[in-house]
């Protein structure tokens, strides 16, 4: 026994050097992979700051767009209407997608029926679809039905895009709820629906909320689904039944403009958008971390 112990220790100490070398090689791989991934991101952020920061001002964020002329090329107004448009479009999309996504996630986490399997596959396929297809769907069913472009049609397209993202996050979060808590609820005489509402959902809330914010962050930046359903607008318009515009579309339109002032404005909108998306992501992480800490 003592003999074997010595053998084990001898081998372990001889192998230690090799293990250390291998460990540093792997760490080197990981670090370089991170750097490679961060370089393009760094370039984008720097480009946005350099080209976009000087455009942004209070007027730029609040005024409505003005069409520049050859004699007054720098007067382009602002993007206030696009910010409002994005708020309306994304807000209504979230109002539709959140309940739908959470209910689907709940169903997927609680049931293992054939329907659930099919629903999960459909949902996974939907996350992989090119986003422009949601625009096509909305055009066929909403635009033709409403006989015109509208912010609402854009919301429908984005809601379809967001729902599978939310349902996936919700399913994962809801599956993580310990069985012991469900049992505790049921053992107190609660109905299954009460346990779901009062025990399961509150526990899973941080995860669900993170999923919602990430889905929203994705939707805020989408251009393709809006292209041929939202129409156009250059005024402040909160009515979802009216044509509208959104920040990504503004980038799309301005970037191809003849005027340099509008090209610069495209960078400005892009920077604004990135800041908003970044803030949403940060908020998601913050809320999730904070609520987890409160629970334990």
């Amino acid at each position: 026994m003592v003999e074997r112990r010595r053998t084990v220790h001898d081998i372990a100490s001889r192998k230690l050097r090799g293990r250390k070398i291998r460990s540093s090689i792997y760490i080197g791989f990981i670090v370089s992979a991170i750097v490679v991934a961060l370089i393009p991101l760094g370039f984008i952020v720097v480009a946005l700051l350099v080209k976009g920061a000087h455009v942004i001002s209070a007027t730029f964020l609040t005024a409505t767009p003005v069409q520049p002329t050859l004699f007054d090329q720098d007067n382009i107004g602002g993007i206030g209407n696009a910010i409002v448009g994005s708020l309306v479009v994304d807000g209504i999309a979230a109002l539709m997608a959140v309940p739908m996504g959470v209910v689907i996630g709940l169903y997927l986490s609680e049931r293992s029926t054939r329907t659930a399997t099919i629903l999960r596959s459909v949902s996974e396929i939907m996350t992989g679809l090119p986003s422009i297809l949601f625009g096509v769907f909305s055009y066929i069913y909403i635009v033709t039905w409403m006989r015109g472009y509208s912010a609402f049609a854009a919301s429908v397209a984005l809601a379809l895009l967001m729902t599978p993202v939310i349902s996936k996050a919700a399913e994962t979060a809801l599956r993580d709820v310990p069985l012991s808590l469900k049992e505790a609820g049921l053992a107190l005489g609660a109905r299954q629906s009460t346990v779901t509402l009062k025990v399961i959902l509150p526990y899973a809330f941080p995860g669900v909320f993170t999923g919602v914010l990430l889905a929203l962050a994705r939707a805020v930046g989408e251009t393709a689904p809006l292209l041929f359903v939202i129409g156009a607008s250059i005024i402040y318009d909160w009515n979802p039944a009216h044509p509208s515009t959104a920040m990504p579309l503004m980038i799309f339109n301005y970037a191809g403009s003849f005027y340099e002032s509008q090209q610069a404005a495209a960078w400005g909108v892009a920077l604004t958008l990135v800041v908003i998306v970044f803030a949403l992501n940060l908020a998601a992480r913050f809320v999730a971390a904070r609520m987890r800490r409160e629970q334990y």
């Binding site: 808590l181 049992e183 505790a184 049921l186 053992a187 107190l188 005489g189 609660a190």
Partner: protein, 271 residues
Amino acid sequence: MEQNISTGGSTAVLTAPAMRLRQVGVAFAGRTAVRNVTFNVDENKVTSLIGPSGSGKTTLLRSLNRLHDLTKTAVVTGDIYLRDLNVYGGDLPTTLLRSRIGMVFQRPNPFPTMSIYDNVVSGLRFNGIKDRALLDEAAESALISAALWDSVKGRLKAHASTLSGGEQQRLCIARALAVEPEVLLMDEPTSSLDPVSTQRIEELMTELKQRVTIVIVTHNMQQAARVSDNCAFLLMAEDRAGELIEFATTEKIFHNPDDPRTLDYIQGRFG
């Protein structure tokens, strides 16, 4: 043994057992886990289920409040009565049954999203009680009964997770008591606790049996000897199904059991 089964005269009702088990069996996906268990749970007594691992103690306990309903493959056979009500016979809705038979689990499982107060009154709220005064009163009384009131009365709004393991388990006891159950099922309630917390919960059980009938699963024989009045000894049969070997007063089980296998287990020869 069977003298209390017929219900008739008033004396019979007064001495009627809180629960009766008749040929109870539990099977999962066709595989028998517990078979043919018959005994009475006497009112205001502590009944302990003892036996080695795998003898079906917890499985049997969870059949009493229909917690196996959650498992699709589970089938409970035989009859279980709460007073005169057939637990599996549709005599009362499962939710009402569970508010009359409370449960405390192996590991403390307070609702982590709720405060101490909200945890205690959660069962009442789940059952539709909203009256603030009633909730406050029930919370205080349940926390006092669970010997937790003095240490938490100043921080009822604090999260349940701020309590120690032993306190969390007493919170779970308070939560179960607040619904005013007639029977309290305890599934190895001290197995994850330190000796001091264990002792407090054992003392608590002796006080609690004045107002509630207790059925406790324990694999700690000393605990069964200390706290229980009656004892059911289960053992795994050849086919791995749990069987009731002997049911008697704790006194008899520990000093003069009828079955040699009970004696072997009590004396630590196996298990």
